[in-house]
């Protein structure tokens, strides 16, 4: 691909030294940045979905606002929270000026990324953990890039449209109206060649023979249909870390699999080895 032919606004995202991406993912990130649409990333756990946002922020030199979604998270909390309890407390025991409501408005991750003085990256992590209606509640804010604080009637408008990255483990299906507005990418499990690069990035000094042996063992475990919870990339990286730290040689590895608990997390799976 000839880089000089690219429009200058494209190709803003280059992978960094510590994060290996496929050309597909690079294109998709660049499309999302250029079209100013949220990027929805799905994939098995441990394929680096959250890491992608950190890498994009680093590559763009932008601040990252991380909004980690839990089952109880409400869409409103990402915009702002009106701290009524603090105000009640102040009114009772004195303190700040209770008449000034603005000081009890605390911006959430979305609000902070909107008011950020430079372009930022907003990561909405594990959006599928929240209630089914959650994504719909954010549609308008992500479309218009603005919201109103009802209590002060202040309009908060994005000064610089943040790059929005949303991750999902597909525990719940997302609504179509939401999907339509996103750029979507499914991170496929890395093929052995790419995995070798990933391992090399995390463990640059590893013995070649050991690395090869590790990969063999790892893919054998993954391809074993009896293993219920397949080990992921991050688990492989951790496992190799453990092997290197313990000074285990490729010969030992060919006889047995040490630290199996790093790779397999279910009792039924462990019982087989």
């Amino acid at each position: 691909m000839n880089m000089s032919q690219m429009p200058s606004s494209f190709e803003q995202f280059h992978p960094t030294a510590s994060y290996i991406t496929s050309p597909e993912l690079r294109d998709v990130v660049n499309v999302a940045v250029a079209l100013k649409k949220p990027l929805l990333v799905r994939g098995e756990p441990g394929t680096g979905k959250t890491q992608l946002a950190h890498t994009v922020a680093e590559a763009l030199g932008a601040e990252l606002f991380h909004w980690h979604i839990k089952s109880t998270t409400k869409a409103q909390e990402g915009l702002y929270v009106y701290d009524t309890v603090q105000r009640l407390n102040d009114s009772r025991f004195g303190g700040a000026d209770v008449g000034d409501i603005a000081q009890y408005i605390k911006l959430g991750a979305v609000g902070k990324s909107f008011t950020s003085p430079a372009r930022s990256v907003l990561l909405i992590d594990e959006i599928d953990k929240a209630d089914m209606e959650f994504p719909n509640d954010l549609l308008h804010e992500l479309d218009r890039m603005s919201f109103e604080v009802a209590e002060t009637q202040e309009l908060i408008q994005a000064r610089h449209r943040p790059v929005v990255i949303i991750t999902s483990n597909a525990e719940k299906e997302l609504p179509d109206a939401f999907l339509r507005r996103c750029i979507f990418h499914y991170i496929d499990f890395p093929a052995p060649e790419m995995m070798a690069q990933i391992v090399a990035v995390h463990h640059p000094d590893i013995d070649k023979q050991l690395a090869r042996m590790c990969m063999q063992r790892f893919y054998a475990l993954r391809n074993n249909p009896a293993v219920r919870k397949k080990p992921s990339t991050s688990e492989l990286v951790d496992w190799i870390g453990a092997l290197v730290a313990a000074g285990i040689s490729a010969q030992t590895l060919s006889r047995e699999i040490p630290f199996l608990g790093v790779l397999l997390k279910r009792e039924e799976d462990l019982g087989q080895y």
């Binding site: 339509r180 996103c182 499914y186």
Partner: protein
Amino acid sequence: MFISFFYYLRARGLPVSTTEFLTLLDALQAGLARESLGHFYRVGRSILVKRPEHYDIWDQAFAEYFKDAEVDPALLESFEDAFFGGLHDELLKWLQDPKHAPQLSPEELARLKNLGLDALREEFEKRLREQDARHDGGSHWIGTGGTSPFGHGGAPSPGVRVGGAGGNRSALQVASERRFQNLRKDLTLDVRDIGMALRRLRQLTRDGAQPILDLDQTIDKTAQNAGDIELVFRPPRENNVKLLLLCDVGGSMDPYSRLTSRLFSAAHQASHFKSFKSYYFHNCFYETLYNDMERRDGESTEQVFRNLDASWRCIVVGDAAMAPSELTQRGGSVDYWHFNERPGLEYLKLLRETIPRTVWLNPDQPQWWGSWTTQAIGELFAMHPFTMQGLEDAVDALRRRA
């Protein structure tokens, strides 16, 4: 210019909306995908396809639509060279080796089965001869992408091998690999749709011991107290709906097993029911209701019904099509080793008496509801088709107060 591509994707079953297509055109206008077909493949997929289950449809549609767009003459020549240099035998060997068959899509497999191996070989040989005679027509051979009975697995696989030696993989080769085939689901009603419909089935009542702080009331009371804080608590609201799910499995219900399992997983995921029970049966239920689809582990129907009352709601899923004797006669059960002392209709009436708010979801289309048993059951229970609309109507019927 790409309008026909848009309609082609929709015709292939990819739910592409107009806004998404306009976004793609925006991207093209901004020059985001003008580099190559491969680039366009990736950019287009990220904008138009939002579920990994649909990646396979995209791959297929893309390969079919652009099959003639990118045939490198050099590739063709090398294809022909390789072709007469022994690949012919390899292709025949491939045909004899059935272990590659799962690479084909179900439709292709069905067509292969229709042809039979001998006919397939004959056809294959015939086309080989044609190919031999007509060199320029060969472009169709490489990117056939599903139009010949050999589909992806047949002709294109040597095509990919030959092309692979040339260097970069083209978008068509990537597309015709169909890596995302396993993620595919043929969606009619997905778990989310069903879950959303079931969510409406709730009846909120206030009870329970664990009180929660009522902030609005607290602020009101505190204001009335001139700033002296008074905390107001209220009991939490709780969904009081109890749901029984009965499901016909096996026999004529086999084509719908995916649909019913989706209803089951949606109902199990829906954590908002106060109680939830589910059982399986075949055609009609008699003395026993089963906990598993294989119908081995059962519980006595009367025992189950004794623990239920009119506060429950019940959804029965079944096609209601069976021999009249299965409903009306003692010993009419479809399982020949099983002799039911009471006819099936009595058990259905027992269900109606125990749980008046029962609806029957029928996955067959309403125009097929003519059979005697379907009519008879339709008189006992409100019958709805198992579609989005039918499910919503059924939930509405269940919401009414007893």
